[in-house]
Amino acid sequence: MSTDEHFVDMTVIVQDPSRTIAGTNDWPLTAPVRVPVDRLEPGPRSHRFHVVDIDLAEQTGIPPAVLADDTGWAYVDRFRPGKVSKITALTNSEFIAQNVYAIATRTLAVFERGLGRRVPWAIPSPVLNLVPRAIAEANAYYSRDDHASLFGYTPDTAATKRVLTSLSHDVIAHEVTHAILDGLRPRFMEPGLPDQPAFHEALADLVALLSVLAVQELVDHLIVDPAAPDGYVYVSALAPAKLRKNALFTLAEQLGTALHDGRKEALRRSLETVPRDPSWSDPERHPEYLRPHRRAEVVVAAVMEAFLTIWSQRNEPYRNASTQHDDAGHRVIDRGRVAEEGAKAAEHLLKMIVRACDYLPPVELEYADVIEAILVADEVIVPDDRYDYRSTLLNSFATFGIAPPDPNMTANAHRGELDYRFLTVTALATSHEEAYRFIWQNMHALGLHSHIHVVVDRVITTTRTGPYGLVVTEIVADYSQALDVPAGKLGALGIDDSGLPADTMVQLWGGGVLVFDQFGRLRQHKAKYIVDPDGTDNTASDRQTRRLRYLVDNNLVGRDGSYGASMNIPRGERFTSLHTEEGDESW
């Protein structure tokens, strides 16, 4: 049923099929969620997603689900809460298809709304396939080669019914986020510093977590306190430490319990184990944080700490105004209010993180760039940080030793006057060539060396509206540079060769993002220089030295023995969402 002409409500399983509504045993926690309207062909198949229910292990498949009429526009939610039982949810193919479609579409919508534009896939097709029962394993992954996110299941056994990863909200959101980030930043697949693959995991986890926390019903469900009067929570339960314990640990407890402990452990570790100081980044002390999934926990931890602080701050007015008490005289407040504030905080943080994606350097990402991009992107849309979101995030990241390299990004925009001769805004907004012309005319001012080729990878225009109705239009151009150098010549560039033989080839990467305002004037330039610009410090060469050291130490070498061009990891293996962790007994 339409809520308005742009959205329909589609019922999905809010968390995981094993989670039931409090007080009942056989109803998974379902809720209708708002999904952008699209013309739906059987599948369902929209202009961005196609659900294909094939099973590789059994070599069989289920015919496409028909969710709308022949025109494709008249959708009816047949699975509204109360109408669907747990058994239906676990076995009804049409519900399974609707669930994966709705959550994937919603996840994409989060990005498109945040970025103010359509988000492309990294694949040469506007449509990403979603395969809800692809493989007979408790796993799920995004595969660029297959143009698909593949979800696994546990086969039926005598003891247990099959369990599907495509019924878990967080698994779907996680995998689709990998696909989205791959579309936004395809070069994050290239060999880089360990932060780069870790950020892929962190963003996927954060989108999964925060989009779940942005569902008010779910937050409400998390903070239920059986001791409190019905519909209320105790005021004393609103401190960040209590919210962490009650809401987030409960959420961790509920993650993926039907399938695998990995996700649960990952969130638990983010909340507990990751050191609340910069020591995680010392590979001698904490080699485990060189692994992408573990390293991702650091950023998840930083954002979740900020979430707790903000949620707690948002509760403050109600807390102070609360006049109600339980029978024993303890102050209580309306649970729905607290849940609403939690959902709002989650949604806002999610938006901030999503908006940052356009400001991330297209190559050579490091965590410091992430917090910088979040702050800069938010400042453009919300100049006054009324609820302290930015400072809270800044402080939270700083706790982990992650600080923006240059809080004022305009500082490294250019050196000297920029030359805009013969450039037009209209062409700049649409043409790679025009963007390259700008770079060509300003090579030196941008700190680039003209003897290294520059490729403009993408030019986009975004239009976003801030919370106070401020409309911001920007033109964003990404460029990259690659240089193949024998290890013997790295020294001349100020880069340590990590002890490689002189004839070993090393591919260096650099690149940046140029942000122009609506008049075509450069507003920001975020550069990860391939080599140090003339007359500057050795930031770039230091980074290249660290990157090469990391690639060499971890044997991330291409099949041809070169470093930096490929990593010899099967692509399908890079984005598995449910990964085996050895636990605390391993070294």
């Binding site: 094939i54 394993e137 796993n139 297959d146 007994e585």
Partner: protein, 491 residues
């Protein structure tokens, strides 16, 4: 007549350098006045594993090690050349190639057969006929049988998978190696072990068993020596081993393996009917591209299944303490946490256990805890990989070593670096584990890898390149503790 009251005087342990593999020969010496059997022997020999997947150096031969073992047995027993030597016990911790390839006649199975192995100990999942539970000391449940049955699918799976990969050998070399390691080449070794067991005696052991070498229950007498079996636990003891529960994954790994190996073997593709149903109209609709694409992909999934089988087999390893009144030798094959967990639970006092643990908890066993603290020789598990020596076990030793005791724990690793993984976090042996073991107070760490020159860095190796030593050898002193191990170039 054997004097069953005799007690061992000295135990000698020899870790032969077999590269990436295991081969530990234990010699139990008695006072000849105290013990001499019908042939006049006053020693007993126990061989724990004999296999390798990567040799220590070019030109190495397993038969050479088998000869060394035979010569050692003869020498210890004072048997003249030509007379039949006796190998009293073979413990085959599990059936990975790096633990049993030496029993295959293609390598050195014939040489070992001449030692007349009398008693073969294997883990219960290796039981060739799990339905006949009478053969072993344990009673197998349906779940155990199902698990053992699924494990036996390894060979079929590995064979089918290697065929799949062999079309592009260069590209898939590493995978083919691993497939070979997990099962393919081991059938002959397994059948030899079975033959020796039939001729003499065989037992399939599980956690909780105690093997008493009294010449009655088993036809081998090694007075004063007992084998307390700590693993593998049965499914009932450790459901994680099989992970039948819905929220664990191995159950469906096994099922998936069956499905996929059939798929590969039969090159199965989606039928026309499936195409017609999913890709309307007539199988050429929008979904057809994806279906064509996906039916050709199986490599990534295969690799994960290979890994899963690998772990499952490792976890069938026999873990146990060979003990006398003064000496305790801990062996653990390639057991990982799923196998170890049962033992760790047994030695964790009830008030310190994880209250959220979703597994059946065994009773706390104070004696076992003391026995593990008191181990005199630890043969490092899983060649020193990061998951073969539980941190809790290490913690047990560490916390009991701070009192400035004298040397009491000898630690021997049998490994070869550079075979599996090169990253600091996953390399075997694990740098973190080795550093931990070296730092352990009251302990000395030895590894067979230091018996040979390091080709990367010959200067740091204490031994000359042209004279690799064959084994590390140590013997117990009057305290029952092992003295220094030394490199040995034997007879």
């Amino acid at each position: 007549m054997v004097n069953h009251a005799a007690t061992p005087e000295v135990i000698t342990a020899r870790a032969y350098d077999v590269g990436f593999g295991d081969c530990l020969l234990l010699t139990v010496h008695y006072d000849p006045a105290d013990l001499a059997d019908d042939t006049g022997r006053s020693v007993r020999h126990i061989l724990v594993d004999f296999g390798s997947t990567r040799y220590p150096y070019r030109g190495f031969k397993m038969t050479r090690v088998a000869d060394l073992i035979r010569d050692q047995i003869r020498h210890d027993a004072g048997i003249a050349v030509g007379a039949p030597p006796v190998l009293d016990v073979v413990i085959a911790t599990h059936r990975h190639k790096d633990h049993i390839s030496g029993f295959d006649e293609q390598f050195s199975g014939d040489e070992i057969a001449t030692l007349n192995p009398r008693f073969v100990i294997r883990p219960w999942p290796d039981h060739p006929d799990a339905t006949n539970a009478e053969r072993g000391p344990i009673r197998l449940t349906d779940a155990d049988r199902e698990f053992a049955h699924q494990l036996r699918g390894v060979d079929t799976f590995a064979r089918a998978a290697s065929e799949e990969f062999s079309h592009d050998r260069g590209r898939n070399e590493q995978t083919l190696h691993r497939l070979a390691d997990i099962g393919l080449a081991n059938a002959a070794a397994i059948s030899n072990l079975e033959r020796w067991a039939r001729r003499g005696h065989g037992e399939y052991v599980a956690a909780g068993d105690e093997v008493i070498f009294d010449g009655v229950a088993v036809p081998v007498d090694i007075p004063g020596v007992f084998f307390d079996v700590l693993g593998p636990p049965t499914i009932q003891q450790a459901p994680k081993l099989e992970r039948q529960r819905a929220n664990d994954q191995d159950e469906y790994w096994f099922r998936a393996a069956g499905q996929i190996s059939r798929e590969i073997a039969g090159a199965k593709r989606f039928s026309d009917d499936v195409y017609a149903r999913l890709a309307e109209p007539d199988g050429i609709g929008a979904a057809a591209w994806l279906m064509h694409k996906l039916e050709r992909r199986s490599v990534a999934q295969l690799l994960r299944i290979v890994q899963s089988f690998d772990d499952a087999l490792n976890n069938t390893s026999v873990v146990g303490i060979l003990r006398t009144d003064r000496t305790k030798i801990l062996i653990s094959g390639d057991a990982q946490i799923e196998n170890w967990q049962y033992t760790l639970d047994r030695i964790t006092p009830e008030d310190q256990r994880d209250a959220d643990a979703e597994r059946p908890m065994p009773d706390y066993d104070d004696n076992l805890r003391d026995a593990l603290i008191d181990v005199s020789l630890y043969k490092v598990g899983h060649h020193g990989s990061r998951n073969g020596t539980p941190k809790s076990l290490y913690g047990l030793w560490e916390s009991h070593d701070r009192n400035g005791r004298t040397q009491r724990l000898a630690i021997v690793n049998s490994t070869k670096p550079g075979v599996h993984s090169h990253t600091p976090t996953t390399a075997v042996p694990s740098p973190a584990l080795e550093a931990g073991l070296q730092d352990l107070k009251g302990a000395r760490y030895y590894s067979t890898q230091y018996l040979r020159p390091d080709p990367q860095d010959p200067d740091t190796n204490p031994y000359r390149i042209d004279d690799p030593h064959r084994s590390l050898v140590g013997a117990t002193t009057e305290t029952g503790r092992f003295g220094r191990f030394r490199p040995e170039t034997p007879y």
